[in-house]
């Protein structure tokens, strides 16, 4: 097991280095000239050169790359990494609630096929799959914020919205829209896994030995569905993160998506690429954790 984790960790670090080099290259090519950006109308070649020297832009590229990485990490949570906690929270909450809904829907669908519950949950999850996530968020806020007034109108940290309670309430809409638009993809795959489990010999044996149906579902079907669940989770980070990046600007400015949106608006491509690297670390880290979890559940993976 530890050999597998070490190998997988090494791969992740290698991927991260390649990704960071690509982003650094993009930054050098498209990040803009700091002299022009900082000096504006008082630009002279001499002043620009002084700025380049001060920022280390005259160093060879490999040195600049290392310097960029050092500054990025030295900034800690006050720099680009500060966008991580807010996004991570939304991702975990939205993904977790979506997964719980998907497991519930898929087990109902597999246990009572062709029932009205099967039809309603399938149709609902499919319809939410076809909605743009930011539109679901828009409709929810129209209804719960402006029509009913149950949720706060101002973003957290602004006047009239301080304290934990109102901060937590502002998470409701992005989390719900993230969860609802992801249910379909997950429940479709899970349903297939559950159908297979219900048709399997071990479930027939469990029923034959007189195990109550609830115990059959919990001990045999759900437990065997854990593995497909993990691999589906691994496949769906990209879509979840895409939705998250687009939802954040509307609800909180402090996450990865909020920072990217703000940087696009200001054409601050350098700081946008910093945040993209943080996003890359998030993706690679999430994939690493998923793979380790799969290896824990399934011994075949770690011995292959």
């Amino acid at each position: 097991m530890s050999a597998y984790v070490a190998r997988r960790f090494g791969q992740a670090v290698l991927t991260l280095i390649v990704v960071s080099m690509v982003i650094f290259l993009l930054m050098k090519l498209y990040g803009g000239d700091p002299g022009v950006i900082l000096l504006g109308r008082s630009y002279t070649p001499a002043k620009a050169h002084a700025i380049d020297v001060a920022l280390g832009m005259t160093l060879p590229w490999p040195m600049q790359y290392l310097r960029w990485l050092r500054l990025l990490f030295a900034g800690g949570l006050s720099g680009a990494f500060g966008t991580l906690p807010a996004s991570l929270l939304l991702l975990v909450l939205g993904g977790g609630i979506g997964l719980a809904l998907a497991v519930g829907a898929a087990s109902v669908q597999a246990r009572f096929p062709h029932s009205w519950a099967d039809r309603v949950t399938s149709a609902l999850s499919l319809i939410f799959y076809t909605f743009p996530s930011f539109w679901v968020a828009g409709l929810l806020s129209l209804w719960f914020v402006f029509e009913l007034g149950w949720l706060p109108m101002v973003p957290p940290g602004m006047p009239g919205n301080t304290g934990f309670g109102s901060w937590a309430l502002t998470l409701v809409i992005p989390v719900l829209s993230l969860a609802l638009t992801s249910v379909a993809a997950w429940s479709l795959h899970l349903r297939v896994a559950f159908d297979e489990a219900f048709a399997s010999d071990y479930v027939r044996t469990a029923r034959a030995k007189g195990l109550p149906e609830r115990a059959v579902v919990r001990r045999h079907v759900l437990r065997n569905g854990l593995l497909p669940l993990l691999s589906i989770l691994g496949m769906s980070y990209p879509v979840l993160l895409s939705n998250l990046i687009v939802l954040e600007p509307y609800f909180t400015q402090s996450g990865i998506g909020g920072a990217i949106f703000a940087a696009i608006g200001m054409r601050a491509y350098g700081s946008m690429l910093d945040v993209v690297l943080v996003l890359g670390i998030l993706v690679i880290g999430a994939n690493l954790l998923t793979d380790i979890a799969i290896a824990c559940v399934d011994p075949r993976v770690r011995f292959s």
């Binding site: 319809i127 828009g138 895409s242 990046i245």
Partner: protein
């Protein structure tokens, strides 16, 4: 017709099977529902603005009006007729969605089949596909559209390049099953070339997978282009459903549900209609799927 001629027999069987498939297709109620919805959306976006022609000029006297007899879907913040905008706003999402999905499906089909039929390409194609599958789709769009300059054709290209791996993976999974079938082995033993096996056996037997892939690629293409548009790096404003949603969210404090709700519902109608049509065709040509299965 000589019935002892194997080619003629095969042609007759094919013709018979094909008519059976058409019958199965035309008998499905969900197929007709899908066709009706798709026709409605297409006519709404492409013929609608010609029939229901309104001015696009600002009209400050009638801004943010709720639906009425004069304005069936109300007006926007600049006093323009929202129904007319909704019709015009469908053109770009529909065209870019179909073009991107066709491109992504063809690319994925080509990559998946080459991976299944060539041992030397198998590893590299699958590894590249897996790498692309782990990137959040919006990120390459953001990088390319903001750094290299925005352009609808570049947008479609980059979305297709992020979407093909899921098709390639599914086609590959299907094709490696088909390539081990006895009839493919028989064809190979009787001297059929790689291209003939591909065209006569692997492709027809992967038809249902291709259709399913196209439907999901279409949904992904439309929705990811919409996401990018909401971030400001996608389709050009003003007339497309995604921009209409994101601008109306900006002044949603006015309870203007008639601006927020319709564009999102149109997205859903468009995608659901394509799902219904492709699923009906898939079921008609693969009767084993008729009994049920995932929607």
């Amino acid at each position: 017709m000589h019935l002892d001629d194997p080619d003629a027999l095969e042609a007759a069987a094919l013709a018979f099977g094909a008519t059976r498939s058409w019958h199965r297709l035309l008998r499905q109620e969900l197929f007709w529902l899908g066709v009706a919805l798709l026709l409605f959306v297409l006519l709404f976006a492409f013929a609608g603005p010609e029939v229901y022609h309104r001015s696009q000029d600002y009209n400050v006297a009638a801004f943010l009006m709720p639906p009425s007899a004069r304005y069936p879907l109300g007006t926007d913040a600049l006093g323009r007729d929202n129904l007319y905008e909704l019709m015009l706003g469908g053109r770009l999402p529909i065209l870019t969605g179909f073009a991107t999905a066709i491109g992504a499906t063809l690319l994925g089909l080509w990559a998946g089949l080459s991976a299944a039929l060539s041992r030397s390409l198998e590893g590299p194609v699958l590894r590249v596909a897996d790498a692309i599958l782990s990137i959040p789709q919006v990120v390459p769009i953001i990088i390319v559209e903001s750094l290299l300059g925005a352009n609808v054709y570049v947008l479609m290209g980059i979305v297709a390049l992020t979407l093909w791996p899921s098709t390639a993976r599914l086609i590959w999974t299907r094709a490696i099953v088909v390539r081990e079938q006895p009839y493919v082995e028989a064809a190979r033993a009787s001297g059929a070339g790689r291209l003939r096996i591909l065209l006569r056996h692997v492709l027809p037997n992967s038809f249902d997978t291709v259709l399913t892939c196209f439907a999901t690629q279409f949904a992904s293409a439309v929705l990811f282009i919409a996401l990018a548009t909401a971030l400001g790096v996608g389709l050009p404003p003003p007339w497309n459903w995604a921009t209409m949603i994101s601008t109306s969210l900006g002044y949603a404090g006015n309870h203007d549900w008639w601006l927020v709700a319709p564009p999102g519902l149109m997205f859903s109608l468009l995608i659901v209609s394509v799902f219904l049509v492709t699923d009906a065709v898939r079921r008609a040509w693969n009767p084993r799927a008729l009994g049920g299965g995932a929607p």
